[in-house]
Amino acid sequence: MADAYRIAIVGSGPAGLSAAARAAQLGVSHILIEKTDHLSDTIYKYQKGKHVMATPSQLVLRSDMDFEAGKREVVLGTWDEQTAGHDVNVRLNSEVKAVEGDAGNFRITFADGETVSAENIILAIGTQGNPNLVRCPVDDGAVVQYTLDDPGEYVDEHITIIGGGDAGIENALGLAADPEQNNSVTLVNRGPEFATAKGANVKALLAAGDAGRISILTETTASHIGTGEITFDTRDGETKIRCDRVIARMGSAPPRAFVEACGAEFSGPDRNAFPVLSPTFESSKKGVYVIGALAGYPLIKHCMNQGHDVVEFINGNTTLKPADEPILEAKFKNLPGRKSVDEWLEFLRSSVTILEPMTPLQMREFMLDSEVRAYRRGETLFDRADPGSSLFAIASGSVLVQVDADDPSKTVGIECGSIVGEVGLVSGRRRGSTVVAAEDSICVEIPRMAALKLQSQVPPARDAITRIATERQLLQMFGSGLTKEDIAEIVDSAEIMTIKAGEAIIEEGDTGIDLYVIRSGSMVVEKMVGRKPVFLSYLPAGSYVGEMAVLDDTPRTATVRAAIKSEVIKVDGHAFRALLEKNPELLARARSDVEARENVNNFVEAKKDSFSGVVDMYSSISSFLVENGIGEATDVLLIDENLCVGCDNCEKACADSHEGLSRLNREAGRTYAHLHVPTSCRHCEHPHCMADCPPNAIHRGDDGEVFIDDTCIGCGNCQRNCPYGVIRMEKVPPPKPSLLSWLFFGSGPGPGEPEHDWIEERVAEDTPKQAIKCDMCAGIKGGPACVRACPTGAAIRVAPEEFLSVARLETEQG
C-alpha cells in the first residue's frame, strides 16, 4: 500500500505552499507535490530580480509563510527557508498525472507511475498549464527544451526553434541578436504565416530573415530530432539540417482538462471559465478543493490566504471568516440598514435577477470587484456621454432613464431587480443617456471585468443581459412611442452574430432584407465605383444598417463589412416590416433616414467623375486607417507628415507631462499618403490590455482614456496583450531639475525623456518596473500634451467616426 495522507496538495505556488505550511503547523499529515525541481515555478520563472508586488494592500495576509513586496529572489528564498522550518513534507520532481477515487480515499498517480493516497486533494496548480511537447520521435541525447531563460548563455550553436508565436520569435531574435555569440538560428513554423504573433515581432523576424541572421522555415514541421541534427517535413519534401539544441515554443495546454479529469466541473465552456466552488473552495467533486490562480484568484496574497483557509476548512474549522471580510464590511458600511456581510450578500443576490444563480463564494468574489451604493431620489447614477463600461444592477428602489437629451422630463423607468448601463458594457462606448434614481435606491455597479466574469460563470445571467440589451437597443433605435410588447416579436427573432474582421454582413447587389444593429466593434460601408471599392462611411457600435432594402425591396446598394471583430444583432426583415406597417410614424421616420442615405450614394455617384482622384484618396486613406486598428479606437493620435518637422517635441512634452517617460514613439508606426499612425495608444473600445491584469489596474477614465493605476504589479501581461505595442515596462525616473535651472545653469538632462543611463544611475536597482501608457493627459488642463506641444499642428487626435466621414470630402474640396 502506498503512503497515505490526510491532505495532498498539488502545486507548490503561493497557494499550495501556504496550504502545506498550515497543514504542517496544525500537525495534519500532508504532502506537497511539485512538478519541477523547485518550489513555486510560476514565480521562479519571473525574470531575475523582478520586484514582486503585494497587492491589494488593504487585504491582510493570513498565512504561516511570510510574504511582502520585494525581489523575486528574496520572496523565493524566504519561502524555501520557511518550508524547511515548518517541516513541510515536500515531494519535488513529481508531476501528478491522475487523481482517482473518492473523498476519503483518493489515489494520486505520478508521471513515473508511482502512487500515493490521500483523503483530500487540494489543487493549486495555477493557470500556466503544460507546454505542448514535440510529437515527433526524439533520439536519446538530443537536447529539447521548452523554456529559454537567458539567450546570452548560448554560443557557437546551431539552434532550432519550433513555433512561430511571440515566445518562439522573441527567443529566436534573442539568440540571434548578438553576432558575437555566433549562433545559427532556425525558426520553424507550421503555417505559412505568423498569425498569432504580434505585428512588431513578425516584422523584426522577417527583417532578421532578410538580413540572413535567422533562417525561417514556414509550412514546415519537425519529423525527427536526432543528436546534432533535425529532420523536417516541408512542402517540398524532407530536409535535414544541423542542430545542437531544439527550443520548442508551441504554446501550452491549459490545465482545465486535468482538473476536469480529477472530477471538478467548470462553470461553462468559455476559455475563461473557472471551476465551480463552494464557500470552502470545494469543487463539485467531494474532497477535491481548488485554490489560487486556478480558482480565479491570480494575486499572490489571495492565493496564500486561500491556502491557509482551505486547510482550516478541511480540518473542521467552520467559524473562520474569510480574510477579505473587512474589505466587504467597508463596502457595506455606508448602506442604510444594519446587516452583516453575509446578509448583504444574500440580499443583493436575491434581489437582482442576474445575480440569483450565484453561489455564496461567487457572490463574495463578485462583490470584491463591484461597488454598491445607496442613491437618494433624483441622484444621478451616470450622465449622458460619460465614458463607462460598467453595468448597474438595481437591488432596491428603481431608476429613470432620460431618453431625450433636451428634455429631462422624458423618461423610461427601470424596475428593481433589473439592470441598466448595459450598452456601455457591450459596446465600450459612451453612455447614451442620463440615469437617475426614481426613489431612494440601492444599486450595484459592476465593472466590465466583473460583468464579463459573471457572464461566463453564470450562463443564465449572460442570456438575461443579452436579451435586455437587445430589447433596449432596438427600442431606442426605433424611437419613443414603442413598447416592449411592440417589439417582442422582433426581439425573439433577433440573432446575435459574431463577425470576423473583413467579413461582410451585406453585399452590394444582394436581395436580403434583414436589418443589422452593430452591438460592438465597427463596420465600414463600401460601394463599387467602376471596378474599385469606394469607402462610403464608417459605422461605430450602436448604428444600424440594412433598412433600405426593407422599405424599398431593392437589392443592397453597398457592401458592409466588419472593420474589426464585431458583434451584430440580426433583425428579421419581415418582422421589421410588420412592425413598420403597424406604426406609420416609425415608417415615416425610416423613410426620411433612407432618403438621407440615398443622398450619399448619389453624391458619390455624381462626384466619381468630377473628382474621382479625391474620392480614391479618401477611400484608400480610410482603408489604411481601418487596417491599422482605427476601427476599434476611440481616440487616436495621427501625424500629418506634410507638416511634421521631426522635432519630437510631442514626445518631449509627453515625457514632461508624465513623470519623465514618453508614452508615444513618433517615428515608429505605419504611414500612408503622409498620414502617419505613430505608436501610441488608441484607447480601444475593448482594450486588449485589460484582458489579463492580475491586480485589475487598468481602467477607463472619465474622458474615455484607458489608464493604468499605481496598483500595477509590473507583470507585463498588458504589454504582451497589446497588439499595437504601445505599452512600455519602465522604471519611473526621479524628478528632473526645473526648466529654468536647465536653461540658465545647464543642470539636469533638459526637456523630454532623459537618457536611459541617466535614469539607471538615479534609481535603485530593485526599483520595480511599471507599465507605462498614454492616458490622454487626463486631468491635465488643456488636454493632450502631444497635440498642444506640436509647433506646426501636425499632431492631431481624432475619434474615428469623425475622421472617417465622407463629409470631410466636401469640406476639403471646398
Binding site: R213, V423, R472, V645, L739, A789, I796, S805, A807
Partner: protein, 303 residues
C-alpha cells in the same frame, strides 16, 4: 445607451451643419500657417499697413527718428514684441497645463515676427549708421531672415522627410547599415588580402562621414562603398564559378549599402536643414537682446 444612426446622409444634406459640427470637432485639421484662418497673419498685415500709413501721414519735426513720440511708441512695441518672440523658446519647453497650443504661438510668432520688419525699421526712421543702434537693427533682421528660411524649410521639407523615411525609423536605418556591414564582413572572408581591403574600406564608411558642407548639400562622391562597388563590378572571376558567385553577392551587398547610406544621409540632411537655421536664429536672438539692452541704455544715457 448610445444608439446612433449611421447618418452620413444627413451630414451631406445639410452642408453648413457639417462645417460646424462634424469637421470642426476632432477632425479639424489646420496647420500652423492656416491656424485660425491665418488670424495672426491678418493681424500682422493690419498692423504693418496701419503703421506705414501713420508713418507717412504723421508729420514729425525735424524728421522721423527713434526719439519722437511715434519713434518711442514703435520702439517700445518692437522691444516688447522681441521679448515676447523670445519667449517661444520657453513656451516650447515648459509643458505647463492650460489651454495653449504651441501651434498658435508659432503662428503668432511667425506673423508678428515678420511685422517687426516694419515696426523696427520705421522705429529707426531710416537713420542707419555704424553704431550700436544699427547693430541691434541688423541683428534683428538676421534673426528675421533666418526665421524666413525656417518657415521655408518647414513648408517644403516635411513631405520629403516622410517619403524618404517610408515608415522606417532613424534607428532602423542605422541598424540596416550595421547589418549590411556585418554581412559584408562575413561574406568577404574567402577574399584575398587585396579584395578584403576594398571591402574593409566600404565597411569603414559610415553615414556620418564627411564635413558639414557635404552633409548639408548631400553631395558625396567616391566613398569607400562607391569605390568598392565600382571595383567589384569591374572584377572578373576568370571563369571560376564559386568566385563568380562570391563577387555577385558582394556586389549586391555593396549596392544595398550604397542605397542604405544614401537614404540615411538624405534623412540626416533633411533633418539638419530643418534645424540648422535655429542655430543662427537662437544665438542671434541672444545677441539681439544684448544689443537691444545696449541700445536702450545708451539712448537714455546720452539723451
Amino acid at each position: 445607451m448610445a444608439t446612433r444612426r449611421a447618418d452620413v446622409g444627413t451630414d451631406l444634406a445639410e452642408t453648413d451643419e457639417v462645417e460646424r459640427s462634424t469637421v470642426s470637432t476632432g477632425a479639424r485639421h489646420e496647420g500652423v500657417w492656416r491656424y485660425r484662418g491665418s488670424y495672426w497673419g491678418k493681424m500682422a498685415l493690419g498692423i504693418s499697413v496701419t503703421l506705414i500709413i501713420a508713418y507717412v501721414l504723421i508729420d514729425v519735426e525735424p524728421r522721423h527718428n527713434g526719439g519722437s513720440w511715434l519713434g518711442y511708441t514703435l520702439g517700445t512695441a518692437g522691444g516688447g514684441l522681441i521679448l515676447w518672440l523670445t519667449m517661444l523658446g520657453v513656451r516650447k519647453r515648459a509643458m505647463t497645463p492650460g489651454r495653449w497650443s504651441l501651434k498658435g504661438w508659432t503662428s503668432a510668432h511667425v506673423y508678428l515676427g515678420l511685422s517687426l520688419v516694419v515696426i523696427g525699421t520705421l522705429h529707426t526712421g531710416f537713420q542707419l549708421g555704424w553704431n550700436v543702434h544699427t547693430l541691434a537693427w541688423v541683428l534683428m533682421m538676421i534673426v528675421i531672415v533666418t526665421g524666413i528660411f525656417g518657415i521655408t524649410v518647414y513648408g517644403i521639407l516635411p513631405r520629403q522627410l516622410s517619403s524618404n523615411r517610408d515608415e522606417t525609423t532613424e534607428a532602423q536605418m542605422l541598424e540596416t547599415v550595421t547589418d549590411i556591414d556585418r554581412q559584408l564582413f562575413d561574406t568577404a572572408q574567402p577574399l584575398d588580402a587585396d579584395g578584403a581591403a576594398v571591402i574593409q574600406e566600404a565597411i569603414d564608411e559610415t553615414p556620418f562621414d564627411g564635413g558639414i558642407g557635404q552633409r548639408l548639400s548631400g553631395k558625396y562622391r567616391g566613398g569607400g562603398t562607391a569605390r568598392g562597388l565600382a571595383d567589384f563590378r569591374a572584377r572578373s572571376s576568370h571563369g571560376d564559378r564559386s568566385l563568380d558567385e562570391l563577387y555577385d553577392r558582394l556586389e549586391a551587398l555593396l549596392a544595398r549599402k550604397q542605397a542604405a547610406l544614401s537614404r540615411i544621409r538624405r534623412h540626416l540632411r533633411i533633418k539638419a536643414l530643418l534645424q540648422i537655421w535655429l542655430y543662427i536664429h537662437v544665438p542671434m536672438t541672444f545677441a539681439l537682446l544684448a544689443a537691444l539692452s545696449a541700445h536702450i541704455v545708451s539712448v537714455f544715457f546720452y539723451w
